[in-house]
């Protein structure tokens, strides 16, 4: 019973707390996490489409830049070459130089591929130089595809230039070849802003950087390491099927980057946004979710704590109450006002305690009664709930006295354990008989016993019952006497009975209550007992008169008893 008290193996509070906490917080966490995940996905998708559309718009702006140049150049290849149109061609070419700052020089080639005019902002012009340009890549390229974009060339390893070739609708209108300063794309590219710090840049067909908001980056040239990084970046975006990817940009920063090709060239426009900025809404959403989840967890912990305590607290109270009640403190009351089943249970406990108190009081009373009443009589008296039967009254009773002959001499000459063994056997034998006959044992001192019949509970024919009991007592004890004698104990047993009116009732004080009878009949029975020999049952004449029909009596004549003036007739009950 060690586990009955003290700490349980697993505390109910802890169990309740854990279960409640999990029940509250798991759905909250799940919701929060799924929200965060879907938010992240949405934001990624949004970012992707934003960067892609920015890249496409950037590419179309670059295309517009090139288209503007192309449209201006197309003015120079309207007219067929002849002596009459030479001046007009020259004016057209001057017009292009005037209109398009990016054009550094312009070369007009006639239908036969012969250079007719070369105008430059820096170098000396050439008029009708007659140089054969038909093998120039720009000329042959324009001849086959009408519009031809040359590779990006880095003048002195720094400034990006490009050659454009454009042929007229008719062969005779010739071909125009223009050298373009691509640094002017800077105006276009630096105007592209994505968010706060997002930017765009362009790589040529060999992955060299030729347009970037930081012009120094372009002019410095692209080193081999960057070339490889850019090639990988381009491949990564291709593999992602055009989706924006997270990558290192040209400054080795982490960015989200999208790409779009510039049609007609091998160029790719990249639009990037720093990862920290691009994901800032995602991060802030995640932080918000984390904060909410933390708050939710704290809230669920509080809730779980409160609920668990509400559950486990009353149970603790019940346990405490059970301890008190178990220890016999039946006045203890468990105070629980939860308004639920636990309160009902506490009320049950309280009722039980009250019941136990009543029952204990009763059993105390019974045990008190049992001291002088036969157990069944005691039960009866107790069950009736009325102890008035124990109150003092006059009643006709049969008083039975019995004791051992020669006990004083025996007790003087024997060992205590022998004496106690004899008394134990003796009392045991008599006790069961008295109980069976529902007689009342008023007192015993050593070997002497006083027994009442018909008090406090009345019975039918008390005289006969008393004599029957005496006979049985004598018979049983005689068996013991035979044993004792065989052991050398000189002991005998005598019984005396008298019937008559006596005052019966409870006497004594708190805790030491006895039931007794007072009256002449008691004295008479005592005297008769003293007068009886071993194996003799002596009765007085009144009892003899009553029992005559049922027993065989032997008149022993008249005897004088101490305290009695007249001699009394004494009868012995025969028993065998």
């Amino acid at each position: 019973m060690k586990g009955a008290r003290g700490k349980p193996r697993r505390s109910l509070f802890r169990k309740y707390f854990l279960v409640l906490f999990i029940v509250v917080s798991v759905p909250l966490l799940t919701t929060g996490l799924s929200d965060a995940w879907f938010g992240y996905r949405d934001q990624r998708a949004l970012l992707n489409s934003l960067l892609r559309s920015e890249a496409n718009s950037a590419a179309s702006r670059i295309e517009t830049f090139l288209d503007t140049i192309k449209n201006q150049l197309s003015w120079t290849v309207r007219l067929n070459w002849s002596a009459d149109t030479r001046d007009q061609h020259r004016f057209d070419a001057l017009g292009v130089l005037r209109q398009v700052p990016a054009v550094i020089s312009i070369t007009l080639v006639d239908g036969d591929g012969v250079e007719q005019l070369f105008l430059s902002r820096i170098d000396l012009n050439r008029i009708a130089s007659g140089i054969d340009r038909s093998r120039d890549p720009a000329v042959s390229g324009a001849r086959s595809t009408q519009l031809w974009y040359g590779p990006v060339i880095y003048y002195q390893g720094s400034e990006p230039h490009m050659t454009i070739g454009l042929s007229g609708n008719r062969k005779a209108a010739g071909i125009v070849v223009a050298e373009i300063n691509l640094k002017l794309i800077w105006d276009v590219i630096s105007a592209i802003k994505v968010g706060e710090n997002g930017q765009a840049f362009i790589l040529d067909e060999t992955n060299k950087l030729f347009a970037h908001p930081d012009i120094s980056r372009v002019l410095r040239g692209t080193d081999d390491e960057t070339l490889i990084a850019m090639r990988d970046l381009r491949r990564a975006i291709d593999e992602a099927e055009g989706e924006a990817v997270v990558a290192k940009n040209i400054s080795n920063g982490n960015v989200v980057i999208a790409m779009s090709a510039v049609s007609g060239t091998g160029w790719a426009v990249f639009v990037e946004q720093p990862l920290s900025e691009a994901f800032a809404p995602i991060y802030s959403a995640l932080w918000r979710t984390a904060g909410l989840m933390l708050a939710a967890a704290a809230f669920s912990a509080l809730l779980a704590f409160w609920l668990a305590r509400r559950m486990a607290g009353p149970i603790g109270e019940l346990e405490k109450g059970a301890d008190h009640i178990g220890a016999g403190d039946f006045d203890y009351r468990i105070e629980i006002a939860t308004g639920d089943e636990l309160e009902l249970l506490a009320n049950r406990f309280n009722l039980m305690a009250r019941g136990l108190a009543v029952s204990q009081e009763r059993s105390e009373r019974i045990s008190r009664l049992k001291r002088f009443l036969a157990p069944q009589v005691a039960e009866l008296v107790e069950k009736s709930g009325d102890e008035s039967v124990l109150a003092g009254q006059r009643a006709e009773v049969v008083v039975v006295f019995c004791d051992l002959r020669g006990f004083t001499a025996f007790s003087a000459g024997s060992e205590p354990d022998e004496i106690m063994q004899v008394l134990s056997d003796y009392h045991e034998a008599l006790g069961s008989i008295i109980t069976r006959y529902e007689a009342t044992l008023t007192n015993f001192s050593g070997d002497g016993l006083m027994i009442l019949v018909n008090a406090p509970v009345r019975c039918a024919e008390p005289a006969i019952r008393a004599v029957d009991m005496a006979i049985e007592m004598q018979t049983e004890i005689q068996k013991l006497v035979t044993q004792w004698r065989s052991r050398g104990y000189e002991l005998g047993f005598g019984v005396g009975l008298a019937i008559g009116e006596a005052t019966v009732g409870r006497i004594g004080y708190e805790g030491r209550v006895e039931y007794t009878a007072i009256g002449n009949v008691v004295n008479l029975a005592s005297r008769l007992c003293s007068s009886a020999d071993n194996d003799q049952i002596l009765i007085d004449p009144v009892l003899a008169e009553t029992a005559r029909g049922n027993f065989s009596l032997v008149s022993l004549g008249r005897r004088r008893f101490k305290g009695y003036e007249k001699q009394l007739a004494v009868f012995s009950v025969s028993h065998s």
Binding site: R90, L94, N181, R220, G221
Partner: protein, 336 residues
């Protein structure tokens, strides 16, 4: 020998110690000024308040303002003027190089050379008229590699181009008088002009002028030699004397060709160049980069993207010159 070197060492030591003693208290007092506020040195040919580079409404300080710098507050400007002489230029450069400057800015190649002579450590942002690599100021345009960076503008190529434009304006031109300052003879302008002239079939005669006072005499010689036009080569002194040259040209009935936007308003018939105003404005970008921690040797030297032709029609009328349509078509600025 030993004694001498010992003495020189102790001399140096003494110099350093005295420098420390002088520097310590002033350093402690002015620390917040010198330590946190960047200092920019400017070197100009003319007076500081006149020059485009240092003028408070000029392109450079306007450019700095666009980058968020406030002269006197977030940046300290130290300007030194050459006093319109090449000797003064060297002195001013030496003066500037002694100051604790974060960057020195100049608007011409002679300034760059003058400062370069004085310091090879202080970052320099310059307009370099000649080829910066040939001039020994940079290893390459992409990676200058030294302490000089800035803008360069095909000045030598443009010399030929100018002569061609002059020839286009004056189809009868056979003899041109070239004004040049021998102080900048280390730049190949004279040879460029002669080479271009021979390609164009023109005779170019160079008249060297060191001082403004020499100009009048040069014109007299030019006129005596039968020059049909005046061609001015890049030089700071000549650039400063545009009004005088323009007047003399008109007086002698000579069409004049200049190399900067300010020549035509002063009375020159024509000028062709990259836009100086834009280039000086661009220098602010380099200064910002350097003040932000960039190494000048890593900042590529840029070339201009815009060139402008300007024509003064009043001068043309006064000279009785008819300007061809082709030139008018190309001209960015026509002064009526």
């Amino acid at each position: 020998m030993g004694f001498v070197s010992m003495r020189s060492i102790s001399h140096k030591l003494l110099h350093w110690m005295s420098a420390l003693i002088v520097a310590l208290p002033s350093g402690a007092v002015g620390q917040s000024d010198t330590a946190t506020i960047p200092r920019i040195g400017l070197l100009t040919w003319s007076a500081c308040e006149e020059a485009w580079l240092s003028n408070s409404s000029g392109p450079f300080l306007r450019g700095l303002g666009e980058f968020g710098y406030k002269p006197g507050e977030s940046v300290l400007i130290e300007c030194r003027s050459a006093g319109k002489s090449y000797d003064g230029l060297s002195e001013a450069a030496a003066d500037l190089a002694k100051l604790p400057l974060d960057v020195i800015v100049g608007d011409s190649e002679p300034v760059a050379h003058a400062v370069r002579t004085e310091t090879s450590t202080i970052p320099m942002v310059m307009i370099i008229s000649g080829d910066p690599v040939d001039g020994g100021l940079a290893q390459s345009l992409a990676k200058p590699g030294g302490n000089v960076t800035g803008v360069t503008y095909y000045a030598t190529e443009l010399t030929a181009k100018r002569l061609e434009l002059l020839a286009e304006l004056l189809p009868e031109l056979t003899n041109v008088g070239v004004l040049a300052n021998p102080n900048v003879a280390y730049m190949p302008f004279e040879e460029d002009a002669k080479r271009a002239a021979s390609r164009l079939g023109i005779t170019a005669t160079v008249y060297q002028v060191r001082e403004p006072d020499d100009i009048v005499e040069a014109f007299l010689r030019m006129k005596a030699d039968g020059a049909q036009a005046v061609f001015v080569l890049p030089d700071l002194m000549l650039a400063n004397q545009v009004t005088k040259i323009a007047e003399l040209s008109l007086d002698h009935g000579l069409p004049s060709m200049g190399w900067g936007g300010w020549f035509t308003p002063a009375g020159f018939l024509m000028a062709y160049s990259s836009d100086y105003y834009t280039m000086i404005h661009r220098l602010a970008f380099y200064v910002d980069q350097i003040l932000s921690g960039a190494n000048p040797g890593d900042l590529p030297i840029e070339q201009p993207t815009t060139f402008s032709l300007s024509i003064n029609m009043k001068t043309a009328e006064a000279l009785g010159v008819e300007v061809p349509q082709g030139l008018l078509l190309l001209a960015d600025e026509v002064i009526e």
